[in-house]
């Protein structure tokens, strides 16, 4: 092989490798994008049933119930227009409180219950997650403006 030919083969190989890598990366990226929905949007069936989504809202006061025999927790998340029942198995984050904002990741089951795989409430008490603020605004722009 002449040096010129060898360089050509080298470049072609590199390009092919780059192409394959890009495809794989974008594929993995696409598969792991988690879209965000408000309880209202979820309720109206906007979210795809096939993939994991995030929801945000306030934990409804008095809605947290623990299963006596296991680590199962039930609570309701509201954006003031629609209230969504959520179940979660495991330990809730330290900053999870009734009446406070929460973001949950998981999917809807057939009974209209949101099965959370992960619950997030990691910001401090005087700061609201952007997702939560947005959920409240989308549901009731005026109410959210007053609440803030």
């Amino acid at each position: 092989m002449t040096p010129r030919k060898r360089r050509l083969v080298f470049a072609a190989g590199a390009l092919a490798a780059l192409g394959v890598a890009t495809t794989l990366v974008l594929n993995a990226f696409e598969d792991n994008l988690v879209f965000y929905y408000t309880p209202s949007e979820l309720h109206s069936g906007k979210a795809p049933a096939s993939r994991s989504v995030r929801i945000g809202g306030l934990v409804e006061a008095g809605s947290v119930q623990r299963d006596p025999g296991s680590t199962l927790v039930r609570f309701r998340v509201t954006d003031t227009a629609v209230t969504l029942p959520v179940t979660y198995e495991g330990i809730l984050p330290d900053l999870f409180r009734e009446g406070q904002g929460v973001v949950a990741e998981g999917r809807m089951d057939d009974n209209g219950v949101f099965q959370a795989r992960q619950v997030l409430a990691k910001h401090d008490e005087n700061y609201k997650a952007a997702e939560v603020t947005e959920a409240l605004e989308r549901a009731a722009p005026h109410a959210a403006a007053v609440a803030n």
């Binding site: 794989l24 990226f29 296991s70 680590t71």
Partner: protein
């Protein structure tokens, strides 16, 4: 009074930084030696001013001066003294001051240790560092003044975030900033070289120890951060692919590439333009990191309060700096020349592939980190990128990289034969492969991915042994003659191998269980029995804790008694915090944390079995040690002393 002095010192520092930026660069352009010499004095003066400001803020914290807004927001009179000192960098403004202090410190170090450099080179380097300092000092003075007074004066401080009240917090941010800021020095060297147009092996040799030191600090900072998150956040995670972690990881990846490409530039004179570009990119990523953390675009334990003005300032700073650097690069780089050629199978080629892999890895992390922010900014909806994305994409990039680490040091510069490499290495490859296939059999299940990870990790270890054997016959006398930089390389590579093995093992075999336990009840995981013995109240200096007792046994053998806590910080309006308790070991950690209290003294408890997790941090320590060894090599000083026959210790060191 002191806060005003601090503020005044900051303003002076900004003025001095401007002088440091303008005068030496102008001097270098016009060959005015006096102007160029001024760079050193400006650097000293700037450091002095920033140090005074830093001292003033620290004093305000120690004396509980709650008339300063930043102190009131981040400290409390009940806070122990050492945390009051570290609380200085517990919030945005103070940590920025620390950042600037580090930058001034690096500049002084450059000023002190660059006496042997040509005057125009050191002047340009210090001038560029001055420009960077102008940016950060301006950012602090105009958007984030730590000395802002509070009126009316607070009676009591709002307290330091409880998660930051930990020994890990004392070291993590300073080391991380040392690393971040250290890459400004590598950047300054690159820009100085572009400006002067003399971009050769000598330049690479000057730049190498600085870049390596910055990389060492960043490695320590990231490692400590991960270690801290592991035990302090209470939930056993050691890497979350959180945007802020990514912000420090991206410059680490490109910085690692930079170290290797600098080696090629120094030894073989090639890769010059690429090296300069990498230095610019790495510095750009540190600025991007600053933007991500300080603009409020993301929420996490690290993110500071939201203030769009700050985001705009950093983004503008970022755009101007990187835009100008790239413009300079486009103008100057074509004249740099290519340097020596190299064959298809040579160490240069392997290092090139190493660089490509590292940069692609950084790009992949960048995509996952910035894409959601961009979508949100464009109003295209809120999305997040799940950690599985990073995991799936990262492993296939890192495994070939680890294999390269095994092969690279045994391949000759310029030209080698693949067959020769194969003959040398086949025994090690076979040995590593067999060990990797057998090792997982001692654990729960066998997976090809893990076997591959173990193979590359073990292969690196064996290849290091092979290289040392070839070079020294493994005789003590031979080993002692090895250059520190050579040993440093092996130490860092060994560290990487440990990390690869540790990550593989912990990802494959960790066991996590959330379980409801009443006092006296127990749970079994991975052959260990955890018996919960209830909790009792335990008051701390500025918190109340429920302290649990968990006895761990294995068969008849008592392993440990763990005391996880759930703390409530009164000063933070009852903010709770989970304090995990660990039993650490060489081959595994056991980890217990208290979740939520239930009725009748029962708790939801999380127990973990984490095999080989300690290897991760041992690996980081080795990498850092390797970097230190490499940077300490006398070669960097000796040859320079040859080039510029100089005075005092340097010359004496040669005899």
């Amino acid at each position: 009074m002191l806060p005003e002095i601090g503020q005044f010192a900051l303003a002076l520092a900004l003025a001095v930084a401007m002088v440091q930026a303008v005068v030496p660069l102008a001097g270098a352009a016009r060959s005015n030696a006096a102007w160029m010499r001024s760079a050193r004095y400006s650097a000293f003066a700037q450091f002095l001013m920033v140090a005074v400001a830093y001292g003033c803020l620290t004093t305000a914290f120690i004396t509980n001066d709650f008339s300063v807004q930043y102190v009131a927001g981040n400290s409390n009179s009940l806070l122990p003294l050492y945390y009051r000192i570290t609380a200085v960098w517990g919030g945005h403004e103070g940590s920025l001051l620390l950042w600037v202090l580090m930058l001034a410190g690096w500049s002084v170090a450059v000023a002190v240790f660059s006496r042997h450099l040509p005057l125009d080179m050191s002047a340009r380097v210090l001038g560029v560092l001055g420009l960077v300092a102008v940016g950060f000092l301006g950012f602090m003075i105009f958007t984030s003044n730590p000395f802002m007074r509070l009126f009316p004066v607070a009676m009591e401080g709002h307290d330091l975030n409880p998660m930051l009240q930990d020994p890990g917090m004392i070291y993590h941010p300073p080391l991380l900033y040392m690393g971040y800021v250290g890459f400004s020095v590598a950047f300054a060297f690159a820009i100085a070289a572009l400006l002067s147009g003399c971009l050769d092996a000598t330049w690479a040799r000057w730049s190498r120890p600085w870049t390596t030191l910055a990389w060492v600090s960043l490695t320590c900072g990231i490692g400590l951060g991960s270690w801290w998150a592991y035990y302090e956040l209470g939930w056993g995670g050691w890497w979350f692919w959180d945007p802020v972690e990514n912000a420090s990881f991206m410059p680490w990846l490109t910085g690692t590439a930079l170290i290797h490409s600098l080696a090629v530039t120094e030894k073989r004179g090639t890769f010059r333009s690429w090296t300069v570009l990498l230095a610019i990119i790495t510095f750009g990523l540190t600025l991007l990191g600053a933007f991500l953390v300080r603009s409020g675009v993301i929420t996490s334990v690290h993110a500071f309060a939201t203030d769009p003005e700050r985001g705009v300032f950093i983004l503008a700073f970022f755009a101007v700096t990187i835009g100008l650097s790239l413009a300079l690069y486009a103008w100057r780089a074509p004249s740099v020349g290519l340097g020596g050629g190299f064959g298809t199978w040579s160490r240069e080629t392997l290092l090139l592939v190493n660089n490509v892999l590292l940069v692609v890895a950084a790009a992949v992390v960048l995509l996952g980190t910035v894409y959601p922010l961009a979508m949100d900014a464009l109003g295209a909806g809120k999305i997040s990128v799940g950690p599985p994305y990073f995991d799936t994409v990262f492993a296939p990039l890192m495994l070939p990289l680890a294999a390269l680490v095994a092969i690279g040091p045994l391949v000759r510069w310029k030209q080698d034969l693949p067959t020769r490499t194969w003959q040398q290495m086949r025994m090690t490859a076979i040995a590593a492969l067999s060990a990797a296939a057998v090792w997982p059999l001692f654990y729960a299940h066998w997976s090809p991915y893990l076997a591959l990870g173990l193979f590359t990790g073990l292969w690196v270890v064996l290849a290091i042994g092979l290289e040392l054997h070839q070079r020294t016959g493994l005789r003590p006398a031979g080993l002692a003659r090895l250059r520190p930089s050579h040993l440093g390389m092996h130490a860092a590579h060994l560290g990487l191998a440990l990390v690869v093995i540790g990550v593989g093992m912990v990802k494959s075999y960790e066991v996590e269980k959330d379980v409801r336990l009443a006092p006296g009840e127990s749970v079994d995981i991975a052959g260990y029995n955890f018996t919960f013995d209830g909790t009792y109240p335990l008051p701390g200096p500025n918190y109340m804790a429920d302290r649990g007792t968990v006895h761990v046994t294995r068969g008849e053998e008592t392993i440990a008694t763990l005391h996880p806590e759930k703390r409530t910080y009164a000063s933070k309006r009852g903010m709770p915090m989970t304090k995990a308790s660990l039993d650490r070991g060489l081959l595994r950690d056991l980890y217990v944390s208290l979740g939520d209290p239930l009725d009748k003294g029962a708790w939801v408890i999380r127990v973990y079995y984490k095999p080989y997790i300690g290897w991760l941090w041992a690996g980081c320590v080795l990498m850092a040690l390797g970097g230190l060894l490499a940077a300490s090599d006398r070669r960097y000083r000796v040859r320079i002393a040859q080039a510029a026959p100089a005075k005092g210790k340097l010359a004496m060191g040669r005899t």
